[in-house]
């Protein structure tokens, strides 16, 4: 089932990338990043059947990083919303020179 798992993971990762590229809502883009992390986790779990339990340990680390990223990212989104009253990325172009 390794090839099928990797194919499923590739499809989910691609859907996440397409979501990041086509949406403008910052929160939905964040959730697309979570979907990509999930796709990578599936790869780790699929390979852990062949290379031992280390892959599952990495999944635990990825989950921790995802939780930390969600906490900080959502705090940033709330801070931006307080200033601009929007999370639409078209209105957030402060870094544009």
């Amino acid at each position: 089932m390794l090839a099928e798992s990797l194919a499923l993971s590739a499809v989910l990762f691609t859907i996440g990338v397409i979501g990041v590229l086509t949406r403008r809502n910052a929160i939905i883009i964040f959730m697309c990043v979570e979907l990509m992390l999930n796709a990578v986790n599936l790869t780790f779990v699929a390979f852990s059947r062949y290379y031992g339990a280390a892959g599952q340990v990495f999944v635990v680390f990825v989950m921790t990083v995802a939780a930390a990223e969600a906490a900080v990212g959502l705090a940033i989104i709330i801070a931006i919303f307080r200033h601009r009253h929007s999370v639409n990325l078209q209105n957030i172009n402060l870094l544009k020179g």
Partner: protein, 183 residues
């Protein structure tokens, strides 16, 4: 190495795989952020079933508890806190040309990932067949992960606590209101 799987196993693997992909497609195409978040939760449940099928029961439970339970609740909480359902926010898809370009990039990435995943397993590094099942029988589903986590990856595990501390401090600092600074 030829592997044989019973029909029951194969059927459920593809069943949850189709649910995961369909939910993910529904997730990126929904206009409302709340509906998108709920479809993403569905994807994560289907993935948790896949983890159980791939002999990672503990990771499956963690997926439901941490991802579907904790992280997505925080997302939904923020969506509802910011009241992001009103019409000016909902029409957020980009124009025709960016969608076309994104589809092209997606097809390119997908074919590249598929081509890479065809290359198969480097068998010289693989553990012997049945090693994982033996570990599971000896230490249980949690012990199989806990042993490498607290032996080989102990430093990384300890550093994770620093990461979480920094993330909590950062979230508190970013979430603070400006008025409280002046006081």
């Amino acid at each position: 190495m030829p592997e044989h799987y019973p029909l029951f196993y194969t059927f459920h693997f593809y069943f949850f795989g189709v649910i995961a992909i369909a939910s993910a497609i529904a997730f990126v195409t929904r206009k409302s952020p709340v509906a998108a978040a709920l479809w993403l939760v569905n994807t994560m449940f289907a993935l948790s079933a896949e983890y159980v099928l791939l002999d990672a029961q503990f990771i499956g439970v963690m997926q439901v508890l941490v991802y579907a339970g904790a992280i997505m609740v925080v997302f939904l909480f923020v969506i509802m806190l910011l009241n992001l359902g009103h019409p000016s926010e909902i029409a957020d898809a980009r124009g025709k040309v960016p969608v076309f370009v994104a589809t092209l990039i997606g097809i390119g990435l997908l074919s590249e990932l598929m081509a890479t995943s065809r290359s198969g397993v480097a068998w010289q590094y693989a553990v012997p067949w049945g090693f994982n099942a033996e570990q599971m029988g000896k230490y249980g589903a949690v012990g199989t992960i806990a042993r490498p986590l607290f032996n080989e990856y102990l430093l990384a595990f300890e550093l994770t606590s620093v990461l979480l501390l920094v993330a909590i401090a950062g979230a508190v600092v970013l979430g603070r209101r400006r008025e409280t600074d002046a006081r």
